[in-house]
Symmetry: C2
Subunit: 285 residues, 2 copies
Amino acid sequence: MIVNVSKKILIVGLGLLGGSYAKALKRFGFHISAITKEQSSIDYAIKEKMIDEGSTTLDERIIGEADLVIFALYPHVFVEWIKENQHLLKSGALITDVTGVKRNIVYEIQDILRPDAEFIPAHPMAGREVSGVENSTEKMFIGANYIVTPTEKNTPEAINTCMELGRLLGFSNVTTLSPEEHDEMIGFLSQLTHCIAITLMTCNDKEDMEKFTGDSFRDLTRIARINDLMWSELFVANKDVLIEQMDMFINKFGELKSMLETDDIDGMREMMRHSSKRRELFDKK
Amino acid sequence: MIVNVSKKILIVGLGLLGGSYAKALKRFGFHISAITKEQSSIDYAIKEKMIDEGSTTLDERIIGEADLVIFALYPHVFVEWIKENQHLLKSGALITDVTGVKRNIVYEIQDILRPDAEFIPAHPMAGREVSGVENSTEKMFIGANYIVTPTEKNTPEAINTCMELGRLLGFSNVTTLSPEEHDEMIGFLSQLTHCIAITLMTCNDKEDMEKFTGDSFRDLTRIARINDLMWSELFVANKDVLIEQMDMFINKFGELKSMLETDDIDGMREMMRHSSKRRELFDKK
């Protein structure tokens, strides 16, 4: 194991994801501390033995002792935190994050970070429709992807440590992508799907339809329950890519509509066969 | 129980759905026969004690003895079957179906059907991504909707019998709608969702994306594995409604894209909050 259990880990932002990190890592015996807004989150996490200690203020000892700091904050809050508080970090500290978009965060943080600390960015692709530390569970990492998005400023050691962290958390697939590759991929696989789900959920306000709904509609709108503050920020942060993906979708959808309008059954069937074949690739292995 | 267990039930078309009907009904002790294309389906169903007897031909005795005939066929095959073979039905036979669109089937069948038989249409809103009698399971009816779509030609007795059938099958919600209400509802809840899923699955052919996919994308494309023969027929049969629903979706999606283009965070957040609130209605109760 590269990450020594004698290392102290600090989690900044003890919500659903931060809490799940704490639960997963505590199994190995790490010393885990947390800084978060609500005292009730800290009380809960201590009671559940997820963390050793925590604070709702910028506790200089806790921050100064941490070898690894995991930021589970909204993107702009993360950037602000580094700007204002990075002087409190231990010299040699490694920091990582959970941010769902990378380009606009990674380069900015790496540019402003102290030279004696290193930021190795990562995106744990896991979530739930509920929030808060009370809903934390390391189960959500099983079968999920953990993507490290290093730049040329990162050391091989930090990259390896971060990948090891993903495996310790329990992620099934730990890989690396450039921030640019990551944002393109996430624009399609995650952001476009959320755009579709919220559109489907709001485009027809006819009453009583919930009485007749089946699993198809439920599946397509599961993610339509969405944290509006976080996702609007993520959408804007990846605007160029997301608009491109939305256009690709609209064009294809228009093709299908044209085929339907002209009774082009052969065309529709070909599209459906292509869809069925391509979907096989995405089955859980 | 309105449907007496001494009644003989015939299932025409022993695939996933017909087979699941057989399994569910056999529990009550009905005499169940089947007519289907493949001898292997009949052999399997007899071995599994799902049916009492079956034939791959138009067995006049089997058809002539059935009090209730359930057609689990493609829409156009169902219409053809009635045209060509309805003289084989018992006088007083009640027939029902599983067709996913109603307007163009219901009135046509009721118009051509013998006056001493009655067609009471129904749509069991249940399915799986696999097909064939071997994948039959009555579990797929749990939590699902069964919709009876009577017209003014139907008797109250037939409507009650068909609703009882839905309950015997194990459906959680058994309701009635007019064929027109049904088709509008299904155009949105089922057909539009399938259009979206196959579009999402085919609009971006970039390689290797399956390596990074999460549950969101999997959920939105589960139904992108689709029976092209059946669904292209269902789409065309409900073309006017489906095009209207596709336009509603496109308009709303365009609104979201405009908000993103103009950094209208307040507008996006309002749409997301509307989406989240509306989605709550659709949670499984």
